[in-house]
């Protein structure tokens, strides 16, 4: 009775792991997910990007142009890699080809999608806002309804102004959180691009409603006064916008007029007159999007330290707060690809490099997009997509086919070896491999569709190696078991004890693999990272199945009458004690167990 109960211990975990494996298997079959094969196995889209000058982004520069040094291209490659490979596992192939950049992305059938992934190609800049104008009146009629919705995209309200009534109340959600933000210790740089920014010209008090003002540090309190801004705003809502600056006249030094475009509808939301570039994207270290304390999305840029980083930004901030002739509106626009992403007000004269937040009426998508644009900075050159084509695999299907056949043959041979050596326990070990295999396959398919994980030949290598590592856990356990039985223990007595010892060995050894995988994953890029992910996943899976599958199933198997009578069928030796004794002992024990 007791032994039956003992044999059942852990069966819950066993059941769960088997169900998970079956679920993973059927889910993958049903959903029809396939792992995304890497460029080497399946091909993808090939883009040839050529450096162009900002003034004429449709025409490639000639090779040898001093503006396109090797360094510039390498830097561009680095940035493109981080864009395409945000999670570091898609393994694109990015290289220089002559003076061009060749980008190959695995498995992407849609060429436009590939272009989107490579992303915007112009420089990221910060320019002071001289004036904001509503978008041309011709805009859509839906804009007025938009403006009444509290969480419209920033700036949408300005279109309403265009239709003539400058009195539309700005969205009030900004003002409600003013007080809350005032409590926070972080300095803020507030989104102020909604129509409310104009309203300030007519009624200074409305600045408060613009977008959550803020500066929180008491010493900065004076700096937040809205008066200078209001008086300095030179334009009125009635004045019409000047024409947009043509692309070839946009230079860092010039005063330009640029649009803000809704990324989804592609409609112009507002038009800005902007001063010369004050800070460039290269001054940024990183950026993230997150929720503030009142549950609204905000963007948190982090500048590099030093003269080329936060110092530059603070110089610009100093011009805008208090507003001066170079920055009359007190707002600084973030410009990417000659379009204004956002134009927040500067509410404090000086910022700590990692304590800056940009708040406003951002939706989650807006905040994340802007953070991404800030984080990946801008390319040091304008790149023009010269050729976009789908490409075949570099190694081809034959390599994949060969790899799969070889893997299958290997699996069968390994199975034969394990069964020849450990008999029934060998069968159990192979079942463990199948369980791990189906869970891993499910994970692969899932990660392929969610984060663009690509299965390359190197990844297949990792999986094949993990066969050895996974079975090793069984070998370690079984050998321990045999050793214990040989030195005079009954199988039943040995089973838990040797698992404890074997488990400690397995954890120690797998622990080292997990550490290695984690370090490689977090510290590297490209193919190495993909490999690390496989190694880590398969090792963790091994730990899980060793504990939840191998332990209970071996205990169950060895608790049987059959095991006591024919230990050889389980690959176990007959105990080393005097044969008669040992057998007698076994029989008593097992009958006790079966009764």
């Amino acid at each position: 009775m007791a032994s039956r109960k003992r044999a059942r211990r852990g069966l819950g975990g066993l059941l769960v792991i088997v169900l998970v494996a079956i679920f993973a298997f059927t889910y993958t079959i049903v959903s029809g997910d396939r792992p995304l094969l890497g460029l080497d196995l399946q091909g993808g889209v090939s883009l040839v990007l050529c450096p162009a000058s900002p003034s004429n982004p449709q025409e490639c520069k000639k090779p040898g142009d001093p503006a396109i040094s090797e360094d510039t291209l390498n830097q561009a490659i680095k940035i493109i890699r981080s864009r395409v490979d945000a999670l570091g596992v898609a393994e694109p192939d990015i290289s220089r080809q002559g003076s061009n950049v060749l980008v190959q992305i695995p498995g992407v059938k849609d060429k436009q999608r590939a272009l989107d992934l490579v992303g915007q190609t112009a420089a990221l800049q910060f320019r002071p806002v001289l004036a904001e104008y509503p978008a041309p009146v011709a805009v859509d009629t839906t804009s007025s309804t938009d403006s009444t919705t509290p969480d419209t995209a920033p700036g949408d309200t300005s279109t309403t102004d265009a239709s003539g009534n400058g009195a539309t109340p700005p969205s009030t959600s900004g003002s409600t959180d003013t007080s809350q933000q005032g409590m926070r210790a972080t300095t803020k740089w507030v989104e102020g691009e909604s129509a409310a920014a104009f309203e300030t010209a007519q009624a200074p008090a409305t600045t408060d409603s613009t977008g959550g003002l803020t500066a929180s540090l008491p010493s900065d309190a004076t700096a937040t006064t809205s008066a200078p801004q209001a008086t300095a705003t030179p334009q009125t809502a009635t004045s019409s916008a000047p024409p947009l600056t043509p692309a070839d006249q946009i230079t860092p030094e010039a005063t330009v007029v640029l649009p803000q475009v809704d990324p989804k509808t592609k409609q112009t939301i507002a038009i800005y007159q902007l001063g010369p570039v004050v800070v460039e994207g290269s001054s940024l270290e990183s950026a993230s999007a997150g929720l503030d304390q009142s549950g609204k999305w905000e963007i948190r840029p982090v500048f590099k330290s030093g003269v080329d980083g936060i110092d530059k930004f603070n110089t610009a901030a100093g011009q805008c707060n208090p507003a001066s002739a170079t920055c009359p509106t007190g707002r600084l626009a973030v410009v990417l690809d000659n379009q204004v992403l956002t134009a927040p007000s500067i509410k404090v004269a000086s910022f700590a490099r990692d304590q800056i937040t940009i708040s406003g009426n951002y939706t989650e998508g807006d905040a994340k997009d802007i953070a991404t644009a800030l984080r990946y900075g801008a390319l040091p050159v304008v790149l023009f997509p010269q050729q976009t084509e789908s490409v075949s695999a570099t190694l081809g299907r034959d390599a994949l086919h060969a790899g799969l056949v070889a893997g299958l043959v290997g699996f069968i041979l390994v199975g034969l070896y394990m069964i020849a050596f450990y008999r029934f326990l060998g069968v159990l070990a192979m079942v463990k491999l199948l369980i791990e295999g189906s869970i891993l396959w499910g994970l692969l398919c899932y990660l392929s569709s969610s984060v663009g994980l690509a299965l390359t030949l190197a990844g297949i290598t990792g999986i094949i190696v993990s066969i050895g590592v996974s079975l090793d856990s069984n070998v370690v356990y079984y050998e321990h078991l045999k050793e214990d039985v040989r030195s005079g223990r009954t199988v039943r007595a040995a089973i838990d004890k040797s698992f404890a010892s074997a488990w400690s060995t397995i954890v120690a050894a797998d622990g080292a693999s997990v550490i290695g995988a984690a370090l490689l994953y977090f510290l590297t890029v490209g193919a190495v990272r993909g490999f690390a992910l496989y190694l880590g996943l398969s090792t963790v899976l091994d730990l899980i199945t060793s504990y939840f599958y191998m332990r209970p199933v071996v205990r169950w198997a060895t608790n049987s009458k059959r095991c006591a009578e024919h230990p050889g069928q389980f690959g176990l030796p007959v105990p080393m004690l005097e044969p008669k004794n040992a057998v007698a002992n076994h029989v008593t024990v097992s009958t006790g167990g079966e009764s």
Binding site: A458, G468, A509, G526
Partner: protein
């Protein structure tokens, strides 16, 4: 057969002391050859690391396979060949002599039925950029440091040092094979080298854990020198090592033979060799490199020196190795699984000779 049978029955009683010396000599020779070759011949780095030449030609209806067999004629069968769009062939290869480049262009022109001038040629930079190498190097340094720390905590620092040395040994020899035979190093090969690092450490930990476990067995440490104890542990763990290596190597050999040999996927060969060499070396070095290094480090400890002197005069020689271990196990109340001797949840363990030597109370914490 008989020695294999003994191994299967767990009766192998090999005096590893003798083999350790031979193993170290062999390893030293292999390392010297590898390092010399690395310095003189270097590595044959593929286009992904070095960059090279790219040819593009409009060749409707020409398949990659056809192109490969045609290029094989001028010795460029290993080039990267891709179909771009529907009708363009792109061939990439490491930079070579101008005649060779001209030959490739000519072959492609003939294949496509166009003039040589219609084949566009350009240089390509490495796709495995410097920043990938740099980040991998940085990660490796961290990896070494963290693994040393981890093993020092989990085992002890002497074993940590030995394990890392064995790992370096394996990688140097694997890379050495690529240098000596001038096999092309591709990104998958680099991944294979990284795999070897992990595999080697893994294997060494399993072996050392056995030594550690035996050290915790009260009946053994007082009767055996550390050398003999280690030799015993190697005997105990030998079958595990053999089995694990066989199980790990079979799929790799299958890749070499079935994949590369029969199905003709050359690229599989490129890194299967690295894996094969690394795995065999990893299993070998755990027993024949890491173990003797630990033994050498440990025998210098005063405690072990004294023990060796005492046992030396007492006449307990090595010959009793495995049987002595069995006796010790039995006499100490059957606490075979030394590490967990206190686990008495199912205390029906056979204790045939209980009381002969009372089990030594288990030390708290780390036993040395």
């Amino acid at each position: 057969m008989s020695s294999l049978g003994r191994l299967y029955r767990g009766e192998n009683d090999i005096n590893f002391k003798k083999w350790w010396r031979r193993g170290l000599i062999l390893s030293a020779i292999l390392i010297v050859i590898s390092v010399l070759s690395l310095f003189t011949r270097g590595l044959n780095l593929g286009i992904d690391f070095e960059g090279g030449i790219s040819w593009e030609v409009k060749a409707p209806g020409v398949s990659v396979t056809e192109a490969r067999s045609a290029l094989d004629g001028v010795g460029s069968g290993g080039a990267k060949i891709q179909q771009v769009g529907t009708d363009i062939l792109r061939v990439q290869e490491p930079a070579s002599s101008l005649e060779k480049q001209a030959q490739v262009a000519e072959t492609l022109a003939t294949l496509a039925g166009v003039e040589v001038g219609d084949v566009s040629v350009s240089t390509v930079g490495p796709s495995w950029g410097k920043e990938i190498t740099k980040s991998a190097e940085r990660a490796l340094v961290f990896f070494l440091a963290v693994i040393l720390l981890y093993l020092s905590i989990r085992l002890e620092w002497k074993m940590a040092v030995a394990a890392v040395l064995a790992m370096i040994h394996d990688v140097v020899i694997s890379v050495g094979v690529y240098s000596v035979f001038q096999l092309e190093v591709t990104p998958p090969t680099v991944i294979a080298f990284l795999t070897i690092l992990g595999y080697s450490i893994y294997d060494t930990i399993v072996v050392f854990d056995k030594v550690k476990e035996n050290q915790a067995r009260p009946g053994l440490t007082s009767r055996m020198t550390f050398t003999d104890l280690s030799s015993l542990s190697m005997n105990q763990v030998l079958l595990r090592s053999v089995n694990t290596s066989v199980v790990a190597v079979i799929p790799v050999i299958s890749m070499l033979v079935v994949g590369a040999g029969i199905l003709g996927a050359v690229t599989l060969e490129e890194f299967s060799i690295a894996l094969l060499v690394g795995m065999i070396s990893g299993a070998y070095s755990s027993i024949f490199v890491a173990a003797p290094i630990v033994v050498w480090l440990k025998e210098r400890e005063p405690k072990n020196k004294a023990l060796a002197a005492r046992l030396g005069s007492g006449g307990v020689g090595y010959t009793t190795g495995r049987s002595a271990a069995a006796r010790a196990a039995v006499s100490s109340g059957g606490s075979v699984a030394g590490d967990n001797a206190s686990d008495s949840s199912d205390g029906q363990s056979l204790a045939p000779a209980a009381g002969v030597i009372p089990p030594r109370p288990r030390k708290k914490g780390k036993t040395r």
